[in-house]
């Protein structure tokens, strides 16, 4: 599987530097990360990574050169250099060490401002109307509800290639963080609150998603697959899930929310409408006995 994905890497698209990087590490580690971006958000963020890295070479470079150069040239044993033990100030040097760094930070600040707004996880992606997903973080698995389809899955998120996806997240347990490195950056999922993430896949493939915020013994195994499918494949997948016999509602919710690892994806052909809002209001799992304290809470928005 990993090997097949390597063939599809966009070697030509992002210039020689990335090409080399991916080619060298292609089938190895870096192929799992954002350098092998497979969606518009991660690609745009990778672009920023390359620009900033190029600028920073000019920040780190002089220090890496001058430190050994000065230390060696002005060593005690070298009698050929000038020794000025009382020289301790020069306006020229002062200007040189304050002004260029400030200039670089100003340039970086402009980049930062622009990119932060474009890659704001809450910003809707351009294009068709997004697929709506509701993601609920559980210990130690992810539940994805497709409210428009009335279906849900555990640990498998299928999306159609090229179509924007809008995910609303909450947690039925402790704070978690959802990261699909090849598609987009991460966002926290917190009990009683919703956060949002917009992403899309530009190429078909299987991408790894995970929780990056430690949440106990099953943390390392809390991984899910994102299936980026072409239109027809996506419809077929929806059909398969619709056909699944299992249903998800408030009565079997506490069984689903139990602490456990889900080695295989689980499909729910029917989901009780409003389950996400229900979980949000009750912030299930906060009470070890499984009962909810009275007083339903109004959903707080993280914004």
């Amino acid at each position: 599987m990993i090997r097949r994905e390597c063939m599809r890497l966009p070697v030509a698209r992002w210039g020689v530097s990335v090409g080399l990087l991916v080619a060298l590490g292609g089938c190895s580690a870096l192929g799992h990360g954002f350098l092998a971006a497979a969606g518009p958000v991660a690609t745009h963020e990778r672009h920023l990574f390359l620009i900033v890295s190029a600028i920073l070479v000019f920040v780190a470079g002089p220090v890496l050169l001058l430190t050994p150069l000065f230390a060696w040239h002005y060593r005690l044993g070298n009698a050929d250099d000038a020794y000025r033990p009382n020289w301790n100030f020069s306006w020229w040097v002062e200007a040189l060490i304050w002004i260029p760094p400030i200039g670089i930070v100003v340039v970086l600040a402009v980049l930062l401002w622009t990119w932060t707004h474009i890659d704001d996880p809450y910003r809707k992606l351009p294009g068709a109307a997004p697929i709506e997903i509701e993601a609920i973080a559980l210990d130690w698995k992810w539940l994805f509800i497709y409210p428009d389809e009335g279906i849900a899955t555990i640990n498998q998120l299928a999306i159609p290639v090229g179509r924007p996806v809008h995910i609303r997240l909450t947690s039925a347990t402790v704070m978690q963080s959802m990261l699909i490195p090849r598609l987009a950056g991460q966002i926290y999922a917190m009990g009683g609150m919703t956060t949002e993430l917009n992403l899309a896949a530009s190429r078909p493939g299987q991408y790894l998603g995970k929780n990056t915020q430690y949440n106990g013994a099953g943390f390392a195994r809390e991984r899910f697959t994102v299936l980026a499918l072409p239109g027809a494949g996506y419809q077929a997948w929806l059909g398969r899930v619709h056909a699944a016999p299992r249903m998800l509602d408030q009565t079997n919710w506490s069984a689903v929310a139990q602490r456990s690892v889900a080695p295989q994806p689980v499909f729910f052909g029917t989901v009780q409408p409003g389950l996400f809002a229900h979980v949000l209001a009750k912030t299930g799992g906060s009470d070890s006995a499984g009962t909810m304290h009275g007083m339903p809470m109004t959903a707080k928005d993280a914004r």
């Binding site: 799992h32 963020e45 250099d81 707004h117 402790v174 990261l179 950056g185 106990g216």
Partner: protein, 695 residues
């Protein structure tokens, strides 16, 4: 085995809480490691006690060290504590690297919870019980000597602060022997650390250990700042202070303002856990975002609390070993102040991914990058200090050079992480882990080790072995690159931090390299201990009794090594920076070692056992609260408070050293000074060095 043994007396203690019992019931590798660690603590304590008894050193230890209010001895005790805790936390790091290197598609040898305890104790110890004691100890020892003071402003509070910190460290050690530690990481984020998800004693150990440490650090901060404001020798204006004093001052100010939010955060979490409050729970109005803000309101300035003292050490070291005045003193002071102020404006960058607006993230991102400017200026100031100097490659200078070149790489990745869109990608991954180790190992550890080598001869009167110093240095640098550069790659590949099991075989080579690096770092620590033993055995050859082995520039080098209890027989008059160097090298009308006209009686604080009592009984009380042994919690608190009250009614807290005795001791040193052979800078690393610089 699963029921409380005797709840009224022992709270929630069960036999299973002893790692030895767990190892017998289920002799898995993970439990054996736990039992071995617990056993090591117990056996270590017994061996120390036996050795002290065998050589009859209990009284000496108690009256000369533990109860001493001498800032130098308190400083040395802090650093000894830091080395003990460093050893434990480094071994834990090696275990974690070992687990990750073997646990590729297999569960490895540590259970997930044991791994969770390891990364939590590793982080908590390295920050609160290695870094903080090390820098506090170094400031404690050096700063009063540099400003010509005889002690800190509040010698007794100094002892209380030390013992509160030691009490916290004691709780960390106790968690090895009884119960288990938190698995919530060094940040202890709720709701994971709330009773609903972590009902065990672990988070309570974390809460109380960190609380004691944070209260101790707040007190230390107040003490350091007041000493610098009020105790400077006559004539020492602020702008005549050595740069280490400036960075100490900024660190102290940060401690005063940054530690209380942590104390508040842990106290609120304690209310949740003990009294059923809902500060940070999911339900009933709790909100963990408040915790994140409080924690990082402490946590970010903390980074600069850790790094600024090292910047001070580097300023002293680079100037001394370049045989040259510090370049851009005013710039450095200004940059330090700017860093201290800006450090309070960037905390949100620790949770860019919490869903706040792009505007907010952008503002905090830009503020974060802005700190890069004064930090860069500092690096350049040290580079220009070497310019047209005569650089000597002693061990402290090697650390300084390695720091400059390594730290800039950490700054590089720091700017990347300051960009919110890039932080979204690598937050919570090993990229972040690599970044902060890339800042703190050169920016804190190398600095502290440079300071340790630089001032060790001042503290003990003999130099540290040069050869073993270089071996240790090489291991620290090589080990760092091997252990942490692979983590950048793994983080960029999406590997989450705190992962105890790996499912991507392509990560294997990088994890192996990192494991090897951890091994080299372990050798580095070993080399430091070997160096200490070798140096003590060769102390007669390494002796620098005259007190100035490095042709030093500041006041601490103008007195004997080790300095007398009162530091200065006569408090010096200062009229500018580098006063001692200018006197030695005839740039000043006064000679360097002028004999005073007259000696006077000196008033010094008497020893006090109350600092020890307060620290120890605070820890005992905390231990009672952790285990729900309520009687012990109350009893410990009562005894601790009683010690405080007793002390405040004490009258006879000072003693007078007679002028004649001071004069005798001072003249004895002057006689030795007259005998000493002066040396040139070419031979300072040889046994010819007796601590008298050639003029």
């Amino acid at each position: 085995m699963n029921t409380p043994v005797w709840p009224l007396l022992l709270g929630r203690f069960e036999w299973r809480d002893l790692p030895f019992v767990r190892a017998i019931l289920d002799p898995s590798a993970s439990n054996l490691v736990g039992a071995f660690a617990g056993g090591l603590v117990v056996v270590g304590a017994i061996v120390v006690a036996l050795v002290l008894t065998r050589y009859g050193k209990w009284r000496y230890l108690w009256s000369e060290w533990l109860t001493s209010l001498d800032h130098k001895k308190i400083g040395i005790l802090y650093i000894a504590l830091a080395f003990v805790m460093l050893s434990r936390a480094l071994v834990e790091a090696v275990l974690m690297r070992g687990q990750q290197a073997v646990a590729i598609n297999t569960p490895g040898f540590l259970t997930p919870d044991h791994f969770g305890e390891l990364f939590s104790t590793h982080g908590s110890i390295m920050i609160f019980f290695m870094a903080m004691p090390f820098l506090t100890g170094l400031i404690n020892f050096v700063m009063p000597l540099q400003i010509g003071a005889r002690d800190m402003a509040f010698p007794w509070a100094n002892s209380v602060a030390l013992w509160l910190t030691a009490g916290g460290a004691g709780l960390m050690m106790a968690s090895l022997i009884v119960g288990q530690f938190s698995t919530g990481g060094w940040t202890g984020y709720p709701p994971f650390t709330e009773v609903a998800f972590s009902p065990d004693v672990g988070p309570d150990y974390w809460i109380w250990a960190v609380s004691l440490g944070s209260i101790g650090s707040t007190m230390a901060g107040i003490n350091i700042a007041c000493t610098l404001y009020k105790q400077r020798a006559p004539g020492m204006a602020f702008m005549a202070m050595p740069l280490f004093c400036w960075t100490s001052l900024c660190t102290a100010i940060l401690m005063i303002f940054a530690m209380p939010p942590l104390t508040v955060a842990t106290a609120l979490l304690a209310l949740d856990r003990y009294l059923g409050f809902h500060m940070f729970t999911n339900d009933l109005g709790g909100n963990m975002m408040n915790y994140a803000n409080l924690f990082w309101l402490f946590g970010h300035p903390e980074v600069y609390i850790l790094i600024l003292p090292a910047f001070g050490v580097y300023s002293e070291v680079v100037s001394t070993f370049s045989t040259k005045e510090l370049y851009g003193y005013t710039s450095l002071v200004l940059a330090t102040m700017v860093i201290a102020v800006l450090s309070f404006t960037v905390w949100v960058h620790h949770f860019f991914t919490m869903g706040q607006s792009a505007n907010l993230n952008a503002v905090f991102g830009i503020a974060t990058m802005t700190i890069g400017v004064p930090t860069g200026v500092k690096i350049y100031d040290w580079i220009w200090t070497m310019f047209r100097g005569e650089v000597r490659f002693t061990v402290p200078m090697l650390y300084a050079l390695a720091f400059m070149m390594t730290f800039v790489l950490g700054g590089f990745t720091g700017i990347l992480l300051a960009m919110p869109p890039l932080d979204y990608l690598v937050h919570n991954t090993l990229f972040l882990v690599a970044h902060f180790h890339n800042m703190l190992i050169p920016g804190l550890l190398y600095g502290m080790l440079a300071g340790y080598h630089y001032w060790f001869p001042k503290a003990f009167g003999f130099r540290l072995d040069e050869k073993w110093g270089r071996i240790a240095f090489t291991c620290w640098v090589v080990g760092f690159y091997l252990a942490f550069m692979p983590l950048y790659v793994l983080g960029a590949s999406g590997m989450a931090r705190r992962t105890h099991e790996i499912f991507d075989p392509s990560f294997r080579p990088w994890l192996y390299v990192a494991m090897a690096g951890a091994g080299v770092l372990f050798c580095a620590l070993g080399s430091l201990f070997v160096q200490l033993v070798v140096s003590i055995r060769n102390r007669d050859a390494l002796r620098v009794f005259a007190g100035d082995p490095w042709d030093g520039r500041t006041l601490e080098w103008s007195i004997a090594s080790p300095p007398p209890e009162y530091n200065f027989a006569v408090v010096p008059n200062v009229d500018g920076r580098d006063i001692f160097y200018r006197r030695k090298h005839a740039e000043h009308q006064a000679p360097p070692y002028a004999e005073p006209y007259a000696y006077e009686d000196i008033v010094m604080p008497r020893n006090s056992a109350s600092g020890v009592a307060i620290g120890v009984f605070a820890a005992v009380s905390a231990f009672g609260l952790i285990w729900h042994m309520w009687w012990l919690g109350v009893a410990g608190a009562v005894v601790g408070i009683a010690a405080l009250v007793t002390r405040s009614f004490g009258r006879d807290q000072h003693r007078i050293l007679l002028a004649a005795d001071v004069a005798r001791e001072d003249r004895r040193w002057r006689a030795a000074l007259a005998e000493a052979r002066s040396i040139s800078r070419h031979t300072e690393m040889t046994t010819a060095n007796q601590g008298l610089a050639e003029r």
